[in-house]
Amino acid sequence: MTYQKRDGWSILGDRTRRAIVECLAERPMAVVELAEKLPVSRPAVSQHLKMLKGAGLVAERSSGTRRIYRLNPIAVEALRDQLDTFWSRALAGYDDLVEQTKEAKT
């Protein structure tokens, strides 16, 4: 499926998909609820959700006969990324400083 290869930029370039993400940012919702809130049909909402899911932005779970969609906690991964870089740089600086401290002593 080609849309799985598309990145977040193009996926979120669409106004309806951004509106879906905004709705799901408030709370997880079923397709019906999303269709009620947005000026698009249920099949259209489903299609957009499929793309959002393909891009890893949205996850679904079943609740009875309904499928509930929610946003993936991608930001946790983004945060991890950011902190991984932070600590990697901090520890490199730490290593240098330990060396300097040692040189200063000897």
Partner: protein, 160 residues
């Protein structure tokens, strides 16, 4: 919420120094080795203070005298271990709700009298929340998306 496997950062390294020195440099000179661009103060950082007792804080003091307390000291066991909270949100702002903060533990293990292994674990990152809350406020204007998408795009390019 179930455990998110990506919600932890683990790093370790061996430094060429006795355990006491490794510990002292880490806690005493954190301000000298942490990346300088991460500054939540309005002015340049004059010093970073690591208070050496449980219940204390780690804070940056700006050259204009303002302070920014960004961590609470949770454990201080020289020269073996130190643990502190990470009261900084994904938007790099001070997080005042302790339930939405993560935790950093640093362990120092003597490999020899002259070599020390330093193990760092920054965990419970998911406690900061998925970060979408700020999105719902931010997306109304154009301010929210560029920041968010840039982060997202960076993530995707790395995981691919």
């Amino acid at each position: 919420m179930t455990d998110v496997p990506t919600a932890v950062v683990q790093r370790q390294m061996v430094v060429d120094a006795p355990i006491e020195q490794a510990f002292t440099v880490f806690t005493g000179r954190l301000g000298d080795f942490k990346p300088p661009e991460h500054n939540m103060l309005g002015s340049p950082i004059a010093e970073t203070v690591f208070e050496t007792h449980v219940g204390g804080h780690i804070y940056d003091r700006g050259v204009d005298g303002t302070e920014c307390r960004w961590a609470r000291v949770l454990a201080f066991d020289p020269p073996n271990r130190v643990m502190f909270s990470w009261d900084i949100s994904p938007q790099w702002q001070i997080e005042s709700d302790p339930d939405h903060t993560s935790e950093v533990e640093v362990r120092f293990i003597a490999e020899s009298p002259q070599r020390t292994r330093v193990e760092l674990e920054h965990r419970h990152l998911d406690r900061h929340g998925p970060g979408w809350e700020s999105l719902s406020d931010g997306v109304a204007g154009d301010q929210g998306w560029p920041l968010y998408l840039a982060r997202y795009a960076a993530l995707m390019s790395e995981t691919r």
